[in-house]
C-alpha cells in the first residue's frame, strides 16, 4: 500500500487499546488510520486474559476509572456484530487467613462506598459458591459487576465497527518515523508501506510506546513487565467465574506491612493466583511479574510457582492437564496508572501504560482520548494520567513502587 494518504488522526498500535481508540474516533466521524506493525492483537493483547475488573483497583480514582470503563462494555458488546464472549458473572477474591479477612472487610467497605456491588462471604458461603476451593479458605470478597471476554475478539469487533465507519486499518506496517514541521507540529507519519499526512497521532503502542515517543523527542517511562500464564485442557468447570487471591493485593497496597505465607520464589516472581474460566470450556491460570526486557519465553521456575499456587487454592486441578503456557508483556509505568494524555508535542497523544488492566480500561481510554481530541468534556478528570507527571517528580497516587509488586 504505497503512496501518500491523509488522515485526521493516525493511531499507532493495533492492540485492544488502539482498537478502542479507533472505534471511538470513527464513531465521532473522524477520519482515522490505524497502523499496526504486525497483525491485530498480536502483541500484549494476544497474550493476556480477558479481564474487566474493578475488584483489584485501589479505591478512589483507580476504581472510578475502571468502573467507568466496565460500564461501557455491556452496551458496546451487544452492539458489535462480532461475538466477543462478554459475560458479567462477577469475581471472587479468595481470603486465606483471618488477618486478610480483616483487611478485606475494610476494603469491601471502601469499594462499597464507591457504589460497587461488593460483599464479604464467610467460609461456608464461599465454599457453597465455589466448592472446589481449598477447604481452609476462610472466605471471599465478591464483586458482582466484574466481567470477562475474549480479548482478541474485542479488538476484532471494535475494528470491524470502525471500518464500517470509514476507518482504515493498515497491518504489517510498522511506523518508521514521525515528521514534524518547523513549529513542532506533526506533519506526517512515515510507515514502511508509505507516508500518512496527519496533524494528530495517538500513540497506543503499549510496550513499544517508548520507541514511538522517541520519534518526537518524548520520554515515555513504560517498561515491559512479563507475566506468564498456564492454559488448561477443556474440562468440567472447576470455578464458575474469575477467582483471584486477596493476599497479593493486600501486599501490593498494604504499604509493606503484610506478607503472605509463601516461598521466596513466589515473592521473587510476583506470583498471585488468577483463575479465569473461559468460554472455550477451559481455564487460564496466572500470574507472575518479572522485568526481563522483551522476552516472551516462559521460565520453568515461574510456571512451576504458578502451578503450585493454583493447586493451593484449587487442589482438584492437580489432575487436570496443562496444554500450553505463554507469556505476555504488560506495559508498566512507575505509578501503576496508565497514560491517557496530550503531550508537549502539539497533536501527539499517548494512550499506553495500562500494565495488567489494558483490556478493562480500553473502552474508557478510547472514549477519553476521543473527548480530548474533539474538545468535548471528559468523563473523568484525566490529570492523574498525564504524561508530564513523571517529569514533575510528584507522587500523585498512593501506589508506591515496590521492586516486587
Amino acid at each position: 500500500m504505497t503512496g501518500k494518504k491523509t488522515a485526521e488522526v493516525v493511531v499507532i498500535g493495533g492492540g485492544v487499546v488502539g482498537s478502542a481508540v479507533t472505534y471511538f474516533l470513527a464513531r465521532n466521524n473522524l477520519d482515522v488510520i490505524l497502523l499496526e506493525k504486525g497483525a491485530i492483537a498480536s502483541g500484549t493483547s494476544g497474550r493476556c486474559e480477558g479481564d474487566v475488573l474493578v475488584c483489584d483497583k485501589e479505591p478512589g480514582f483507580d476504581c472510578r476509572l475502571a468502573k467507568l470503563s466496565l460500564d461501557l462494555f455491556p452496551q458496546i458488546a451487544s452492539e458489535l456484530d462480532y461475538d466477543i464472549g462478554w459475560t458479567q458473572k462477577g469475581s471472587l477474591l479468595a481470603i486465606e487467613n483471618e488477618e486478610e479477612m480483616e483487611a478485606a472487610r475494610k476494603f469491601c467497605t471502601q469499594l462499597a462506598a464507591e457504589g460497587l456491588p461488593v460483599r464479604i462471604l464467610d467460609r461456608n458461603e464461599v465454599l457453597e459458591i465455589e466448592p472446589n476451593l481449598a477447604k481452609d479458605i476462610v472466605g471471599g470478597l465478591e464483586t458482582g459487576c466484574d466481567g470477562s471476554l475474549y480479548p482478541m475478539g474485542l479488538a476484532y469487533g471494535l475494528l470491524s465497527d470502525a471500518k464500517k465507519r470509514g476507518a482504515q486499518i493498515l497491518t504489517h506496517n510498522p511506523v518508521v518515523d514521525i515528521k514534524r514541521d518547523s513549529n513542532g507540529n506533526i506533519q506526517k507519519v512515515i510507515a514502511r508501506n508509505g507516508d500518512i499526512i496527519t496533524r494528530r497521532v495517538v500513540n497506543a503502542a503499549g510496550v513499544w510506546a517508548p520507541a514511538i515517543g522517541k520519534m518526537v523527542g518524548l520520554n515515555i517511562p513504560i517498561k515491559p513487565r512479563q507475566g506468564q500464564m498456564l492454559v488448561s485442557e477443556r474440562t468440567f468447570p472447576v470455578a464458575r467465574r474469575k477467582v483471584m487471591e486477596f493476599g497479593y493485593m493486600m501486599a501490593k497496597f498494604g504499604g509493606g506491612s503484610y506478607a503472605r505465607r509463601v516461598s521466596p520464589e513466589m515473592e521473587e516472581f510476583g506470583i498471585a493466583l488468577v483463575f479465569e474460566p473461559t468460554e472455550a470450556q477451559n481455564f487460564l491460570i496466572g500470574s507472575s511479574r518479572r522485568f526481563v526486557g522483551m522476552d516472551t519465553s516462559c521460565d520453568i521456575r515461574v510456571l512451576r510457582a504458578i502451578a503450585e499456587r493454583a493447586i493451593r487454592f484449587f487442589p482438584a486441578i492437580r489432575d487436570i492437564n496443562i496444554i500450553r503456557s505463554y507469556a505476555g508483556l504488560r506495559p508498566y509505568t512507575p505509578d501503576h496508572l496508565p497514560i491517557i494524555s496530550k503531550t508537549e508535542v502539539p497533536g501527539f497523544y499517548v494512550v499506553a501504560g495500562h500494565e495488567g488492566d489494558g483490556i478493562g480500561l480500553s473502552l474508557i481510554t478510547g472514549k477519553l482520548i476521543t473527548q480530548m481530541i474533539c474538545g468535548e468534556p471528559l468523563d473523568i478528570n484525566t490529570d492523574p494520567l498525564r504524561l508530564s507527571r513523571f517529569q514533575e517528580g510528584e507522587n500523585v497516587l498512593r501506589k508506591e513502587t515496590k521492586p516486587t509488586s
Binding site: E233, T235, F236
Partner: protein
C-alpha cells in the same frame, strides 16, 4: 468362515484371559493386554464422546496425540483410552462436552 471364527484363529486370541469392564453402564468383555479403547472397539462400540457441539467422536490416531479417544475413567475426565490399559471392573463413561460449561 465367519469373522468371529476367523478372529479367534488370530494369534492374539491366545490371550484368553478376559474380564469385564463397564462402559456407559454396560458391561463388556476386555482381554488381557487391551487398552480401554481397544476393548471398546472390539465390542463393536464406536462413539467415545461428543464435542461441545454434539458431534460424535471416536478413537483416531491410536498413539496418544489427538486426544479424540478421551473418556471419563473411574471418575477422571479426559483420559486417553488408547493409552490406558483396561483393568477389571474399571468404569468408563463417554464425555458429553456440551456439559463442560458453567450452569448459571
Amino acid at each position: 468362515m465367519s469373522s468371529e471364527k476367523r478372529r479367534n484363529r488370530h494369534p492374539k486370541a491366545e490371550q484368553n484371559h478376559t474380564f469385564q469392564i463397564e462402559v456407559d453402564g454396560k458391561k463388556i468383555v476386555a482381554r488381557a493386554g487391551q487398552t480401554i479403547a481397544e476393548a471398546i472397539l472390539d465390542n463393536g462400540l464406536k462413539v467415545f464422546r461428543r464435542t461441545r457441539n454434539g458431534a460424535p467422536r471416536s478413537f483416531y490416531c491410536g498413539m496418544g496425540v489427538c486426544y479424540e479417544c478421551r473418556m471419563i475413567v473411574n471418575g477422571a475426565p479426559n483420559v486417553r483410552t488408547c493409552m490406558t490399559p483396561a483393568t477389571p471392573g474399571c468404569k468408563v463413561v463417554s464425555q458429553d462436552e456440551s456439559l463442560m460449561k458453567v450452569e448459571w
